[in-house]
């Protein structure tokens, strides 16, 4: 995926958020985040205000990348699920279509089994939306990027 840009349109964004909101309710979780594998937050739902979401996205991507590297070392393509258990809160990270990272933060109100079950279903829906994102990307890209002028770029540094 080194080529081209990743473009998320409003419609697919809303579709992602709808899936995340349903996941929160179904899994009794605190917060869920959808992160690009390169470390950019795409969408979130739940009690997200207590988190530094930019840092969370970056570290989750680093975590998944490092774990993927470990998987390769033992001949596995990828470890698709990571689980971190804390004293109060737990974190479940999973890969969606090998492109996105779904992060679920949950406490005693839920359980790892329930989260895994609900994440599996949500991942299938997210993967379907992702296909639409990829299909629309080419058309959207030309619209505004080509309008950017050198003067626009210069204005960032004034």
């Amino acid at each position: 995926m080194a080529h081209g840009n990743f473009i998320l349109r409003e419609r697919e964004y809303e579709a992602f958020v709808a899936v995340l909101r349903k996941l929160i309710l179904d899994s009794y979780s605190k917060a869920v985040f959808l992160v690009d594998k390169n470390g950019t937050l795409m969408a979130s739902a739940g009690e997200t205000e207590e988190f530094d979401t930019t840092s969370l996205a970056s570290l989750a991507a680093g975590n998944i990348a490092a774990t993927g590297g470990l998987a390769n070392l033992i001949g596995e393509k990828e470890f698709t699920i990571l689980f971190h258990e804390g004293e109060r809160d737990n974190m479940h990270l999973s890969l969606v279509a090998n492109r996105l990272i779904l992060i679920v933060v949950f406490d005693r109100r839920s359980s790892i089994g329930l989260v895994r079950l609900r994440v599996r279903r949500a991942s299938e829906e997210l993967a379907r939306i992702l296909i639409a994102v990829m299909e629309e990307a080419g058309a959207a890209e030309k619209e505004f990027i080509e309008e950017i002028t050198e003067a626009d770029i210069e204005s960032l540094f004034k």
Binding site: H3, S58, A140, I148, L156
Partner: protein
Amino acid sequence: MSFINYASREINCKVVYYGPGLCGKTTNLQYIYRRMTPEARGKMISLATETERTLFFDFLPLSLGEVRGFKTRFHLYTVPGQVFYDASRRLILRGVDGVVFCADSQLTRVDSNLESLENLRANLQEQGYNPDRIPLVFQYNKRDLPNVASVAELHALLNHRNVPEFESSANTGIGVFETLKSIIKLILIDLKRGGR
């Protein structure tokens, strides 16, 4: 690979500071962090050893203002420079939009710069990038120290693509923002042209 979010009207780009161990990559990010206003920067994360050597990466998110109604966000990363952390460097290059190659100007570090630049080219290729086309700038750091190679020598040694290059002393901030501005401009121009 830039990420453009039409819903939140944001452009997200990834900049990686690359270079040999102890060349000043982390120092660049620390200086940028200190000088940016709190509104323009997020939290800086350093995954480092107890002796403050970068273990995995440093991360600093910046918000620079709007272009055509889109907020521009730049995620700055450093790689661990030490040779044996190559697996980590490869991972951090994933999705990169532009690279700052931070060279150590000291004469004794000439070989390390070359080795690191070769390593960068190999790792970019491995990630599917063309190392001759990706936005790149050179920063010749530690110009304040004695026994440094001349800029002409460093240019001849490293800058075969003839991309922008800057003298710097990251400790005091000389050249740090010039380098950053240059790579950001190259990334946005590259984005406009349709990428790699």
